[in-house]
């Protein structure tokens, strides 16, 4: 068996919670069959659907780029089968990979992390950003 171990196939029944927002994230999931809903809590703590994914799509992929807690939760909307890949398994595969492919992977993961960080900063800023009128009132200009 390779350093990372073999991939795990997991089954979820309709309604199963796969992971929650804030959980430590280590695995990325490739959907084989079924339907997965990505959910986030809104300001009142209610679940809000962010996306619905199907076969061939991937979720939990931020775990590839960072060891930060899950930014969103995931639950099965139908009976689903997924393949789970852990960070250790990816690292083992990268070790055996062509150096160009390994570099490519690391750069893409880094870019994704940077863009996600930038986006969440942007969202926070725009939420707190004063309007143009507020600024005019403050500066007394135009």
């Amino acid at each position: 068996m390779s350093a990372g171990g073999s991939l795990t196939r997991k089954r979820f029944a309709e309604g199963d919670l796969i992971f929650m927002e804030g959980d430590p994230g280590d695995e990325t999931f490739l959907i084989q069959t079924g339907k997965i809903e990505i959910i986030k809590r809104d300001a009142t703590g209610m679940f809000e659907p962010v996306a619905v994914l199907g076969p061939g799509q991937v979720f939990g992929e931020m775990a590839l780029a960072t060891s930060k807690p899950r930014a969103a939760g995931a639950r099965a909307l139908a009976d689903s089968e997924v393949i789970a890949v852990s960070r250790a398994q990816v690292a083992a595969k990268l070790k055996d990979a062509d150096p160009f492919i390994a570099a490519l992977f690391r750069i893409l993961a880094g870019n994704l992390e940077a863009i996600v960080a930038r986006k969440s900063k942007e969202e926070k800023r725009s939420a707190a950003k004063p309007t143009a009128q507020d600024l005019d009132a403050l500066t007394g200009e135009e």
């Binding site: 991937v58 160009f100 750069i107 994704l112």
Partner: protein, 153 residues
């Protein structure tokens, strides 16, 4: 070198400060590995201004996304000083991808898709040229100080 079949010639390219290595929206035929210098990646904002997405440093790969998913260039790449890079043709990238682990391959394609989606959803602030100039100046100053220190010690 002429007539030597199968000899792989490294496709080395040199650019100077401000040179556009590729334009946003172009069809991409090569990926680059940055050997020397720094490359600025920029993208047009909705209002048409250029915004910096980030920088590629030595050893970094850029321009690879358009090759893999066959979409137009998502951003422009501009030399941020003298730059030497190695151009890697599409066939080479495809061959390497094809030979790679299927899980890695899936994840690479997915990472690119995610990056494109996220970039489309992110509103970037246009480049603050004054701040960029100030940062460049501070950097030059720091380099000068470091050089001076090196000389005196």
């Amino acid at each position: 070198m002429s007539g030597d079949k199968g000899v792989k010639v490294l496709n080395r390219r040199t650019f100077y400060k401000g040179d556009v290595i590729f334009h946003e929206g172009d069809e991409g035929a090569v990926a680059y590995v940055l050997q020397q210098g720094r490359v600025r990646i920029t993208r047009k904002t909705d209002s048409g201004e250029q915004a910096t997405l980030g920088f590629v440093e030595e050893g970094g790969v850029f321009g690879e996304m358009a090759l893999i998913d066959k979409s137009p260039r998502m951003a422009s790449a501009i030399a941020d000083g003298a730059v030497v890079c190695i151009a890697i043709p599409e066939e080479t990238v495809r061959a390497k991808l094809k030979a790679s682990d299927p899980v890695l391959r899936t994840l690479i394609v997915m990472l690119i898709r995610m990056i494109r989606t996220m970039a489309d959803q992110t509103t970037l602030p246009p480049d603050d040229l004054k701040a960029l100039a100030a940062a460049a100046e501070a950097e030059a100053h720091a380099a000068a100080v470091a050089a001076e220190k090196g000389q005196t010690s």
